[in-house]
Amino acid sequence: MSEMLHAKKVAKGFTLHTQGSVTIPVFEGVEFRLNAGECIALTGESGSGKSTFMRMLYANYTCSSGSISVLHDGDWLDITTASPHAILDMRKRTMGYVSQFLRVIPRVPTLEIVAEPLIALGTARETAMEKARDLLTRLRIPERLWQLSPLTFSGGEQQRVNIARGFIADYPIMLLDEPTASLDTQNRATVLALIEEAKARGAAIAGIFHDHETRDAVCTGSFDVTSFKVGAND
Amino acid sequence: MEQTVNNPAQASSAYNFAYLDEQTKRMIRRALLKAVAIPGYQVPFAGREMPMPYGWGTGGVQVTAAVIGPDDTLKVIDQGADDTTNAVSIRQFFAKTANVATTEKTAKASIIQTRHRIPEKELREDQILVYQVPIPEPLRFLEPRETETRKMHALEEYGLMHVKLYEDISRHGHIATTYAYPVMVNDRYVMDPSPTPKFDNPKMDMMAALQLFGAGREKRIYALPPYTKVKSLDFEDHPFEVQSWKDECGMCGATDSYLDEVILDDKGNRMFVCSDTDYCSERQDAGHRGPQHHDQPLGTSHSNGKAAE
């Protein structure tokens, strides 16, 4: 299986300048690998830094040292040193990210929000809209809501809009931060199906899953971030 | 009517010829030369206090004073008429201070100072037309900053002029500016032709006579040398047009001249007469008659009314 992403000797700490410049070390010596077609669960108890690590993989958080390389356009891109342009391009074409929170501009219709990543990739608008409609239908968002801003939706609905947006483009790498957290059984099944489809087309997936059932259903392996916590091996 | 009047012996020796001192006249002539060299460009000059208030033609008077010689024959018109207060006093001013001949006949004049009109009769190469100008800056309507308007002239940034015309059309359905209608001079400078009716704009184009413009309060001089291209600004789909009248001149029957509307009584009766009094009376002398003529030679005092601006 081909390698899509690897982290080498990654360390991360936060320096809180506003609080007497106290430094909070989080990780050190992280070695992580993600291959095409696999789905790795990031594990560790609450507060262990799973989300922090995932954000580092997305270059939302910086690394204190080490490197994270992503196979982007056939070349390895070290996102800890890459230019903002390169990272934005990587996010646009290579790496999808389903976060727990929906952050959108007020007033933009749900359908537009879902279709946007595909349109940004150059897909014809109508094709993108069609796929957005399919996904929203599969995720049971009632059609009457499609022209409304998701900011007025319930938490579960917002989460599903987020998932639709994350899955609309066939990203080679996908990061999923608790994609099924607030979903009912039916919708959880749909999300699991989407993940399986992504795996089947060869996507490399790293996810944080709050329940064993989901994890066991889709994951091909797991990665315990706790073992790289600073002081964990003392 | 006497056609040429010499005012003998009235030139007071208390004044220099044509009132202004020679140094001042030289200064104005230098400004005039520069203005002629750069058609349409506003040349600043050190305008003097004149023995008349601003708005009465102090700019035109200074220009006239700088170019007039003892052999010249001066005609002065205000709104086309020779006999209005302003025209009469300026004519008398030069008769007194320069002892020059004056006339009401366009053809006889070598210098014509004017406010708000260009004579109907075509001018010749040996004539000079001096305009009195209140506000020389055509861009002032939209740009109050002098530093900025100068820069706009320097860099030929004239889009703003069309903004004004655009506003006209959007409000009135046509370009409603009827006087002080902006022109492009020699394909370079946008110029305010002074508050003449746009009817007169085509006369400025390739005119044989030298045209000089003086703004007393604003202290600016500009000029159009003989045979200068003068184009009225417009839009492709709203081309420049001059006013036209359904009526003819009530006195001389002219259909090709600029007409003033005259209210005759309180019952709404009115008539139209040529604003150019000399043109009108010459036509009447030649036997032309308008509908309201009654074969009575009419005085020329009917033209005090404002033009249809």
Binding site: A120, G122 | H162, S170, E236
Partner: protein
């Protein structure tokens, strides 16, 4: 939309001194077509000084501003003739002022405001100009019946949108915005942000936006520069700077303003 790798704007070592006082110091960055750069910092941090110097409105004490012009390739904007520079500023560049009154002609109609730039570059067909104005009024979500109304009869949000239309009618590639949402109601702000983002995307505009509102910066900009006392103290991807700020001042800024 493809983003060219060729920079549209290159600012090198830009310094603006007012006597001994620092306006901004040693600022360097590049901007590509379609890229939105946010400049954040508190009042007096040098954001607006920097914007003025970059946008050819105030010659810097030191440093260069180079722009990739459509015709002549890369040019130092302060080495251009004034005529060239002013032409650039009213065709390929646009300025959206915080106070719409600074960017509009209040004594002519909305249509004339939008049409001015077209007329400035030689458009002389009234019907075409009017159609373009009407079209743009629609794009910025102002009822086309308002075409002949004076901007003074518009609400603040409408004036701001009119200012945007007036600027974008010549299809500029680089837009400078100084606190474009400042002074507007929150609901009006949201609408304007949505509109701006759509236009930026659809027209592939490069934008430099000065704002003290981090939420605005997050929604509009790809990259951020954080300024303090005239210097850029942190820069990078917008979400990286806001979510994982490294510099003490940025942390303070983020922790004091961003509460959702």
């Amino acid at each position: 939309m493809t983003r060219s790798n060729e920079p549209l704007l290159r600012v090198s070592d830009l310094t603006m001194m007012y006597g001994d006082r620092v306006g901004c110091r040693n600022v360097s960055f590049e901007l590509r077509p379609g890229e939105v750069l946010g400049i954040v910092g508190e009042s007096g941090s040098g954001k607006s000084t920097l914007l003025r110097s970059i946008s050819a409105q105030q010659e810097p004490t030191k440093g260069t501003v180079e722009y990739h012009t459509r015709i002549d390739g890369i040019r130092d904007v302060y080495q251009m003739s004034e005529a060239q520079r002013r032409l650039l500023m009213r065709t390929d560049w646009a300025f959206v002022h915080q106070n719409a009154r600074d960017g509009l002609r209040m004594n002519v109609s909305a249509g004339a405001n939008i049409g001015e730039r077209l007329m400035a570059v030689g458009d002389r067909h009234y019907g075409n100009i009017r159609n373009a104005a009407e079209n743009w009024l629609g794009k910025v979500e102002i009822a086309t019946e308002r075409l002949d109304d004076l901007p003074s009869t518009f609400s603040g949000g409408m004036q701001q949108r009119l200012q945007i239309a007036r600027n974008l009618v010549t299809s500029p590639r680089l837009v400078f915005m100084d606190e474009p949402t400042g002074g507007l109601d929150v609901s009006v702000q949201a609408r304007l942000l949505d509109l701006l983002r759509g236009l930026v995307h659809d027209l592939n505009l490069a934008v430099i936006i000065v704002t003290h509102d981090l939420a605005v910066a997050r929604l509009l900009s790809h990259r951020l520069m954080v300024m303090q006392r005239g210097e850029v103290i942190e820069s990078g991807l917008t979400d990286q700077v806001l979510d994982d700020p490294q510099h003490a001042y940025t942390q303070l800024l983020v922790s004091s303003i961003l509460q959702n």
